[in-house]
Amino acid sequence: MIYFDNAATAMIHPVLDERLMDQLHQAFANPSSLHRVGMASRKQVERVRGQIAQLTRVKPKEVIFTSGGTEANNIILQGSVKPGDHLITSAIEHASIHQLVSKLEGVQVSRITDMTLEGVLAQVRPETRLVSIMHVNNETGQVFDMPDLYRELNKRNIRLHRDAVQSFGKFPLKGDYDYLSLSGHKLGAFKGTGALIAKQPLQPGWYGGDQERGLRPGTENVPGILSLGLVLEAEAGLMDHRMEHVASLNQRLRQLLADDTVILSPETASPYILSLSAPGIPSEVLLNAMSAKQMYFSVGSACSSRSKHHSHVIAWLTSDPELRAGAMRLSLSWQNTWEEVEVFSNQLIETIQYLRKVIR
């Protein structure tokens, strides 16, 4: 099996096999209980919170655990704008922002296609309250650092949210922010695990408890949180090393596939994501053919694959219908190997060449 769909989610991190069950048995109680075992659980949850705070250089209370990036995005956006406000985002956000912004009642939205500081500032109005721009695009891997954005917005009393789901733990973020979304399961922690960072206040959207500063009431997802703690511990200090390895795999893929595909991701994109296209060959057919050989990647973004329309991100990237129809995403992890890259490329090329003959 060759798994190149790590932007959708990652394989369970090996550290969890060894250590998670022990930790779970010890921290089985409800962290909000007042007795000793409850306090033991609470301590574990806070320890992981501390780990994230340290990594991102924020205060522990600014870290709120969620079920993942989508929930983080929802809590942040719904908690930071109100009717009458104006919000700036991009045309290429993940579905959780893309769909969410049109549901915010009474909020005007501008979606920029010019992904630069100037592009954002050009949309600023008196009512602008929040800018939400993703850090690394989930379909193409493109990086939008915009290091001066925070300062410029801060001057104008506008808050900045970065969706860092594809970069947290993988690719460094330059520049400051008010709110950040991150995902744990993309690093190999349990699905249903993520967090947000809120350096500014947020209005709560749900009720029913005090947990997570009232922003995410309900019993904490202790197994998920502990799994994230273990992953972060196992990966401590390894981010650059991992990225180097993945970058070499990415380079090799580009080399091997250059003749038979069109590479869509720029060289400056995150090495973890490679968007490419076999023009004129419907990418779903390639997905099926490779899946039958136990080789996995994705077409469109994982959350939106139920609908038949083409990705809005690929639509932004290219207007060529053949390129759009054949767009695929290979997304890597530190667990992938050079050999996997060779075998996968080989099979992909074979399949593409066969289908080319058939389809023409």
């Binding site: 419907p282 779903e284 057919v285 390639l286 099926n288 053919a289 039958a292």
Partner: protein, 383 residues
Amino acid sequence: MNLYLIKYGEITLKGKNRRFFENKLLSNLRSRVGPYGGEVEFYQGRIFVRSEDDRIIPILQDTFGLVEICPAIKLPLDMDVLRRTAAEEMKKLVGEGPATFKVEARRSNKSFELDSPAINHDIGGYILHHVPNVSVDVHQPQIRLEIEVREQFYMYVETFPALGGIPYGTAGKSVVLMSGGIDSPVAAFQMARRGVEIVPLHFHAMPFTSEMALDKVRQLVHRLTYYTDWLYFYHINLSEAQITIREHCDERYYTILQRRLMTRLATKLADQKHALSLTTGENLAQVASQTMEGIVCTNDATHLPVFRPLISFDKDDIVRRAKQIETFETSILPYEDCCTIFLPSKVATRPKLADVLAEEAKLDMDALVEQTWKTIVREKIEA
């Protein structure tokens, strides 16, 4: 322990073969009620089921070959109790009225002092006096009040309708061509209801169709096993064949030629499985290949009878039936062909057989059948 009297229909017309049908019905019933702790008994020429579990009623109602399920009310051998209960039950059923009824007693306990006619008379009379707005009709009563005299009284008033049909597995075998659409599961159901053992066969075109599309059909077959018990599900990959057809033949004939190939493959499977017929969900004129001319051309590719139980249904009828048998929701899941490259832009809607044969002659059809047959996979789908 509840007792249910099972009424079955057309078997009683079968004469010498009655034993065969009854035995199959008994064996089908036993497999269906077993998981609910049910026992089947054959007593005095009638079929009864005993079970503690109320959930058994819909299971019985959905058994092919049964007409009515009658739960028994058990009473001590006391005429007073019998009279009063009979009147109560009648009142419940009749409501305002008017209604006609008949009492039918059967006495297997010969030591009981009254004989059947006496019981009929007694209870009938009591009911006439105590239940308003009813009258007796011995020919076509609306309500039949049956009383069995065994070691207790067993009274049957209320009945639950069953699916009718003929016991599954008594009417031969048929290979059913299953697409993932709304029609073919209904066609399969219709045949199974008439006692035909169905052999579901699906054609996909991986990688041009998805795993999910195949799994959708698997789920539809699984739904059918609720009625038929476990099934072997066969599927064949047509993608190579489609490519070949596309290479050699005029695009107006793709669909017909493909259907002829499917028909041949289905026939080959039928021969192997000793099935004497094919079944399809074809309906007149819904899609281009289902005009009468189209059907003539595909029919020509087999020597077996092809049953088309939905040929005269309106789409609405088919949808209604699909909802009743709970295949509709699965059928409408959108996992259709993800690749439109094999869809012709022009289709011959009224093809002439001679033209189709001429087009087909450009292919080595025997070789194509052999090659495509090799992709067949059989899966066992448990109920």
